[in-house]
């Protein structure tokens, strides 16, 4: 297909559909395998190493770019936001492996975005810089141990405190007893956070903690067994209202609500370490998207 004469609209449709991913605007034809390795070959190796049967449907697909072009380097990140793309280009990496979406919805639905100037600008940047974006969400969570929480445990130093037998989205820990506020400060520092939000008495002694996932049913299941629930993004009318009512009812409980990155982006650093064990042709670098927020007050 001649991408030089293809209409922008057509390109956007095809690029987003994942059918034809051809950011080869204005460059000479190139052998697909001219470089050391292509994005598709990296993904094939990931599928060989991840240790679980590949699921369908899955979010783990090429989102934009040409999977068969040779790559210069790999960025792993939690969120392929525009800034992470720019930092990847600056680092010389044109293949981005992202845990979360690129186009602001769970399955990167772009049908409603065609006339969105931000979408067009991001797509143009991706094409001009010959970037390839692939999502690695479902299967990195399905890997055992769950790659996302393995990374989190490593950064927190909490592998030693993990309660055996819990599943990734209900991981429980028994840590040396600490004040809620002090624990929150430790998390702030280790997880590189700015916007941690808390419910509960700062002086509460916390020893048993659990991951309440993102949703109220998980939090309800967890509460009887823990002093504090951690959520890595949860709608405010769910965990926050639940835990403040638990406290009003006389229970000694707390909620530690982190940005989504706070719970999960360390898992993409873990992903970079894992990739280096079987991809040696190009450099692999984790680029943190970081806590999206700062606090006003």
């Amino acid at each position: 297909m001649n991408t030089n004469t293809m209409s922008r609209r057509k390109f956007c449709q095809l690029a987003a559909s994942g059918i034809v991913l051809a950011p080869s605007f204005g460059r000479a034809y190139q052998q697909p395998n001219a470089g050391p390795i292509t994005a598709r070959e990296v993904v094939q190796r990931i599928r060989q190493h991840v240790g679980v049967t590949w699921r369908t449907p899955t979010a783990d697909e090429f989102k934009v770019g040409d999977p068969d072009a040779s790559i210069t380097g790999i960025t792993t990140t939690f969120m392929s936001n525009f800034e992470v793309l720019q930092r990847s280009v600056a680092a010389g990496n044109n293949f981005i492996i992202t845990h979360e979406p690129t186009f602001w919805s769970a399955t990167d639905i772009i049908s409603d975005l065609k006339d969105d100037p931000l979408y067009q600008q991001k797509l143009k940047y991706i094409a001009e810089n010959k970037l390839v974006v692939w999502r690695f969400h479902d299967h990195w969570h399905a890997h055992r141990p769950d790659g996302i929480f393995a990374g989190w445990n490593r950064v927190m130093g909490w592998d030693q405190y993990a309660v055996a037998g819990t599943t990734p989205f209900s991981h429980e820990y028994v840590i040396p007893e600490t004040r809620l506020e002090d624990l929150a400060k430790e998390m702030h520092a280790k997880l590189n956070l700015r916007s941690l939000r808390l419910v509960g008495n700062p002086d509460l002694k916390v020893s048993r903690l659990g991951n309440g996932g993102h949703y109220i049913p998980q939090c309800m299941n967890l509460l009887p067994r823990v002093d504090a629930i951690m959520v890595f993004e949860c709608r405010e009318w769910e965990a926050a209202e639940y835990v403040r009512d638990a406290i009003a009812a006389g229970q000694k409980k707390a909620l530690i609500q982190m940005p989504h990155e706070g719970g999960e982006e360390m898992g993409m650093d873990e992903c970079a370490r894992w990739l280096r064990t079987f991809v040696s042709e190009v450099p692999v670098k984790f680029i943190a998207s970081g806590d999206p927020f700062w606090l006003a007050a």
Binding site: Q86, L118, E233, E236, W237, A239, A249, A296, A297
Partner: protein, 292 residues
Amino acid sequence: MEDVKGMLTGQELMQRIQKNVGVPWQSQRPDGFADGVNIGNPETVVTGIVTSYAATVEVLRRAVASGRNTILCRETPFYSRGERAPTAYRNAPAPPKELTDKDSVCRFKQDLISENNLLIIRFVDNWDARNTNGQLRGLVRALGWDQLSHNRNDDYSTSAAVFQVPVTSLGNLARSISENLKIRSARVIGDPQSSVSVVAVTHGVILVSDAERMLRERPDVVVAGDAVEWEAVPYFQDLVTAGRAKGLVLVGNEASEDPGMLEMARWLKTFVTEVPIEWISAGEPFWTLRNV
């Protein structure tokens, strides 16, 4: 009851609300969380009305202490919007009944409601459907911006308004918003030093489609309640990186919706005169390490 003439039941209250709401009443939703009596007997005589963002345990206690047995709220008492627009709000499915039945917090709250014969009434969709958006008007008043000139929606006919504020930095704007709303945990995206003057405001959770609509007014910054962190949050990060907007201020869902419940109390007083009506703010649920 000493004054039988002035008696009003929960059901009569709902009928009067339906008569005064000014738009065709929307029917029951299949998820069971439609507007109307959520918990309690509709025949209960209303002793007083409390409006609040959420029927938290503390709000219920204060209602009981002041002798008011009827609570009009926006969020459901048991922490779930159920299946309500799950694709839009990214909320969880409702917890199964066997989970809430044994849950210590749900049981405590249910007992508090039963023992005090409270009526919990949810009033959201039809309130939001009114020609004047009470949630937006309440939020704008709480921000102290109702006297500012704004170039669109001065009748609050949609869910967003756009204001011209004196030129300031994003950091100062966010601090001033926090002071006016008396909140501690507002979260901001964007460079605190960047200069802003056109501010678009909406209440509740902002979706990407809401943001796209609001951006047509070319605001420097958008103020909203909350946002999904894989949707509108990176969308605004990208807007800032792309130079298309200066930032996003998320005041919290409660802070963005509770002032509208004060507006609701004001409105109810225009046609309910038999019983006292009071807004009780549920209050911001969070604290942060900056303000421990």
